[in-house]
Symmetry: C2
DNA sequence: CGGGGGTTACGTACACCGTACGTACCTTTT
DNA sequence: AAAAGGTACGTACGGTGTACGTAACCCCCG
């Protein structure tokens, strides 16, 4: 009857599956155990507690990123590729991605992306402090974007695209919001993300082209 | 004995207080009721459920932002001021800020900042679509930054400044991370935030200065 | 060929959670 | 005076994370 002997990996996989299907709120030790056809406390032989499990989930999702980094490519293309690679996990595991961005994990799993990014930035000619600054900038942008894109989706609904806020605003109080409502309501996340990446790349360009002065 | 008659405002205030003191995990209806010296179910006369309470908390925190917007100032200064105003709430209510950025609230409370920002951007010469894009860009950056700055602080610790990851990395596997470890470990959030704001302002500058072509 | 000894699975139990429901009081309207 | 409505409260139900004690298994050492 015991098909496979229950392992940390299987538990994490079940958790990810459950999160994707029913949302992060549905995750409970009992639920996961039931999903695996196993007693609740058996999980604790492989995972110290729920928090650690969620960290493991975040780690697993994060380590799924495919980095096909080409050191010979122009640094702008490498930046584009890395940003896109990060974004792809939000497409593959929308709900679980929230865990990755909500919990900053101190584990080594998130270290490889950092290494790649720093190498790229150094290759682009930034010195240490500037490379770190730019990296933080990019991370902030990516995290913030994914947070908006994936929505928090606290409960159900397969991600919820409608924001539903357009109509009820008073044009006298909020003229800009009111007149731009159609634009605010819809959002092509892909295009928006690409726009941000390009904007940041341009910004990095002008930043590197002046180095000092002007302030 | 009944000092004040218990109101939605008092409940929200108690919730914020509790969150700041003991973290978001410590928030429970029973805990809040105890804090107010009141029965648990009395809360439900003023708040439909916990989720609505947390939304109210987010709304209250958000509406505490002080916008001293000067329509005559240069648009770059207005952008700086608005970004800073947003960041100040992260300083005043670090833990509660997580609620604001985690939960996107569709209520009207977050509408005023949007209105102000759009007005500023339009004043800077951006047309509708570009203004919305830039606003989204800025929001993503601010949210991402605050998320890093305040940390998720899921449990205790008065914000936890140490990241503790410097030492254990293999210089052979992660040369960049290893050599830049000191820079990665410490972070002057204020300076980092200001750097990002300036970078984005410059980016907006070059973006408005070309409008079309180059791609 | 015994045994142990460690690992794994499991059940029970406890403290806590959100909240549905019924009830008492107190204030205002009729 | 009576009726109506809102506020506070207690109890109860089904859920949660996990500490603890037990039983089965496998493997290695004698």
């Amino acid at each position: 009857m015991r098909s496979e002997p229950l392992s940390r990996a299987r538990i994490v996989a079940a958790a990810i599956d459950l999160i994707e299907r029913e949302g992060a709120d549905a995750v409970s030790m009992r639920r996961i155990a039931a999903e695996l056809g196993v007693g609740v406390m058996s999980l604790y032989n492989h995972v110290p507690n729920k928090d650690a499990l969620l960290n493991a989930v975040a780690e697993a999702v994060l380590s799924e990123i495919e980095f096909t980094d080409d050191p010979d490519a122009h640094w702008t293309d490498r930046v584009r590729a890395q940003a896109g690679a990060f974004r792809q996990i939000a497409h593959h595991h929308p709900r679980s991605t929230m865990l990755v961005v909500s919990r900053q994990l101190h584990s080594a799993a998130g270290l490889l992306p950092v290494e790649r990014a720093l190498a790229t930035l150094r290759g682009a000619g930034f010195d240490g402090p500037d490379a770190v600054r730019m990296l933080r900038m990019f991370i902030a942008f990516i995290v913030g974007s994914l947070l908006r894109e994936v929505g928090v989706t606290p409960t159900f609904a397969p991600v919820q695209t409608r924001t539903i806020k357009a109509e009820g605003v008073d044009p006298a109080l909020f003229p800009e919001v009111s007149s731009l409502a159609p634009l605010l309501d819809e959002c092509d996340h892909e295009a928006e993300f690409d726009f941000g990446v390009e904007l940041l790349i341009q910004a990095m360009h002008v930043h590197s082209g002046r180095k000092e002065g002007t302030r």
